[in-house]
Amino acid sequence: MRIRLTYLLAAALCTAVSAQPPASYPGAEWTLPNGDFANTRYSTLAQITPANVAELKPVNIMQTGIPNGHEGNPLVVGNTMYVVTPYPDNLIAIDLGKPDGPLKWVYEPHPDPRAVGIACCDVVNRGASYADGKIIYNTLDAHTVAVDARTGKLAWKTRVGDINLGETITMAPLVVKDKVIVGNSGGELGVRGYVAALSVADGHELWRAYNSGPDVDVKIGPGFKAFYPKDQGKDLGVSSWPANQWKLGGGTVWGWISYDPELNLIYYGSGNPGVWNPDLRPGDNKWSCSIIARNPDDGSARWAFQIVPHDAWDYDEIMENVLVDLNIGGQPRKLLLHPGRSGFMFVLDRTNGELLSAEKFQQSTNWADGYDLKTGKPREVADKRTKFGAVTKGICPSSTGAKEFVPSAFSPRTGLLYIPAHNTCMDYEGIEANYIAGTPYLGADVKMYPGPGGYQGELVAWDPVAAKQVWGAKEEKFPVYSGVLATAGDVVFYGTMDGWFKAVDARSGKPLWKFKTGSGIVGNPMTFTGPDGKQYVAVYSGVGGWMGAVAFPAISTDDPYAALGVVGAMKDIKQYTSPGGALYVFGR
């Protein structure tokens, strides 16, 4: 009893005085996909500052020999760096303790090659988590593997999904206590989205919670308390769909998972609804495009907030949820920051799912003119809703979103969230014949192009308390498709699709330094302390992913509708970069 009281007291103190997130920031090591449970991507390392960042130079470059998109980031545990490649999803251990960083070992999982033909967009992998002496990550063929961090030997391997049904896994798992939390990809093929928890010790599955279907499948029970009436009711995962269509309901989980140890809740966003277009699935289509909070012990849902009801634009909301504690209106609040694909910056109370603000972080956003904080619903602009066979011009953002899955960073020193943003719009121009599995069908003729203002990307520095942009670093040529790193040295790092790795001042956005890597950057920068006690910054270079795939020789830039319409926005990319993956490590 006494222990319990002490714990409660500590928790109360934390709530009252702390402006800290619910988990400690990474320092010398980087052991989780986004650095910490809170997904801040903020490092306490401060050796690299605005005054000296220009001294950075590459100290190690390692080619992976793989031409696909290199997403995610390496981990550093002790004196070892761990790199997960795109398919075939090899795990490479690099010895930081020796000159030139030689390889210690390579673990090859040999995923089922058929997964390559099933993955929708590119055969990417978004990284690993470290726990219990194991590096744990997912493979494209929908397995999770745990590899001994010291020896490179497989500890366990678990089949999570079935590629024969169109499921793949590309996300980075998050280890929460004694469990690994994973989610599936494949919404395009009509799979049903879920998260599952595996035992860190031996990989066996402990629970699985779906994002469509009856409450028992979604793990909605008596402990579920959605804040808004729109998200309350029995079996909404069934009743918000036409009969049985939830079975092909999408809502996959291919982004990031956050964890608040104090509230004991995990948070994630779900993908777009499947499998029909909106005309064929009247209803809100829950729980697609939603933020869902669950108890990691048993998967039970605590609350859910559907961001985009009845999605008509492919606005997956699998984006990162950054957990921070800040004062809103003079009151300390436990917040969840979700920069949405839909172009709005959602600030929620993470204890209960209340929407505190939702302002446009990409000004061209026009599918809705705002959110009603009383109901939690978007105020949709009727003539920007897509309709099959009808021409709808000038929808912003495009289907690739006002940002992609690439994660933002939050600095507690500046109180700003640094969002890698896109400025692209699209036209739905009727229909075109297409062909799958021997069957002709009709698809939307989508053309994407740069949004207003003459730029395609922007690093947006956002004040979540004032709910407004503080500064923006515009990128003319391409969307910002890399993750962001913020450091205690007040330097913010990000990459561009034409291969520049950049550092800007965390307070002003002033450009400080840049380096041209060998290929476009779609990975996430991270930082660590080497055995020599010095701070280093690492990032993958290697263009790919949905948008970056346009750089592949096989995709014609003559056709604005190729790669599901992305080419229209990306047609210049071959002039500026070419595929080919490498790890870059920078030091002073």
Binding site: N90, L103, A243, A433, I436, A437, G438, L442, A554, I555
Partner: protein
């Protein structure tokens, strides 16, 4: 980089390249290590200097009645006929015909020809079309439904099975035609991708009609006709009346854009062997419709 690590990375690259060419049985069990090598079907005589290069075709290893790795589909039969007429060996690369198919096959250079694409398909260069088919109703004969029109009022009271393609407005034409009539709640979706570990994944829709899981299916003619003829109970297929003109498609072979030489060579054979091709399609129970009137 240590030599072990270099080797490991190199073997990855090899695995990726080898992926396309594998045996479907291995495909279903193992992976490329067990199933490497291209399927080479000798047509021409033994190699001589100046022998023409093989006819390199990409096809789905598990998608009857179109193609499978055992060569049992009508596209396999027609590819063999083309190779024979062009006096070239036939070489297959197997790849599931899904999103990325053209990118990973024709465009990546793994092959030079695919046997079926819509005649107005933009990602590849279509030949002149060699057949035209349509979406059809598939019904159990014992139900005596006798459906011919999407405007038949009885449809509202029936459960209707359709192939579901994917999100982003990817729909079979009857899905949209039914939605436009307000028929949504009685649609049952069957993934076109099906369970790829089993033969004939799209067949589940036609099986559903035979089993009475749905009252009627509306499916693309070639697969409807082929599978309907193989169910344990008699099924009927019926055309959808002309009020819904979007139900018919002309089908071509496809080459890479700009590969005019192969395109005209294939077109010559397709034209000269028209009767033979039609015979093959009829054997496979493909419902054939006349090409639309030429527009000048």
């Amino acid at each position: 980089m240590s030599s072990d690590a270099s080797k490991a990375l190199l073997s990855l690259a090899v695995a990726v390249v080898a992926l396309g060419a594998m045996d479907i049985e291995m495909w279903n069990r193992q992976g490329p290590a067990a199933a490497g090598g291209l399927a080479l079907i000798p047509i021409a005589h033994a190699a001589t200097p100046g022998e023409p290069s093989p006819l390199r075709v990409c096809a789905d290893p598990n998608n009857l009645p179109f193609s499978n790795q055992r060569g049992e589909g009508f596209e396999n039969v027609l590819a063999l006929m083309l190779a024979r007429e062009l006096k070239r060996n036939l070489e297959y690369t197997w790849w599931p015909q899904r999103r990325g198919f053209i990118r990973n096959t024709l465009k990546s250079g793994r092959c030079d020809l695919v046997m079926g694409i819509p005649a107005n398909f933009e990602m590849a260069e279509p030949t002149a079309p060699y057949y035209r088919s349509e979406y059809v109703f598939v019904m159990r004969a014992d139900r005596k439904l006798d459906l011919h029109s999407l405007d038949d009022p009885r449809l509202r009271g029936l459960s209707i099975g359709l192939h579901a393609i994917g999100d982003d407005y990817a729909n079979v034409p009857p899905a949209q035609a039914l939605a436009a009539r307000g028929m949504v709640g009685n649609i049952r979706g069957y993934s076109i991708y099906g369970d790829y570990s089993r033969p004939d994944p799209p067949r589940a829709l036609i099986d559903a009609v035979a089993r009475g899981e749905v009252d009627v299916a509306i499916a693309w003619g070639p697969l409807a006709g082929y599978f309907a003829a193989r169910e344990p109970v008699p099924l009927e297929i019926a055309a959808i009346d002309a009020r819904d003109p979007g139900m018919q498609f002309s089908i071509s072979a496809g080459v890479r854009r700009g590969d005019d030489a192969l395109k005209s060579a294939v077109e010559r054979v397709l034209a000269s062997r028209h009767a033979e091709i039609e015979g093959v399609l009829r054997e496979y129970h493909v419902p054939l419709v006349k090409p639309p009137e030429e527009k000048s």
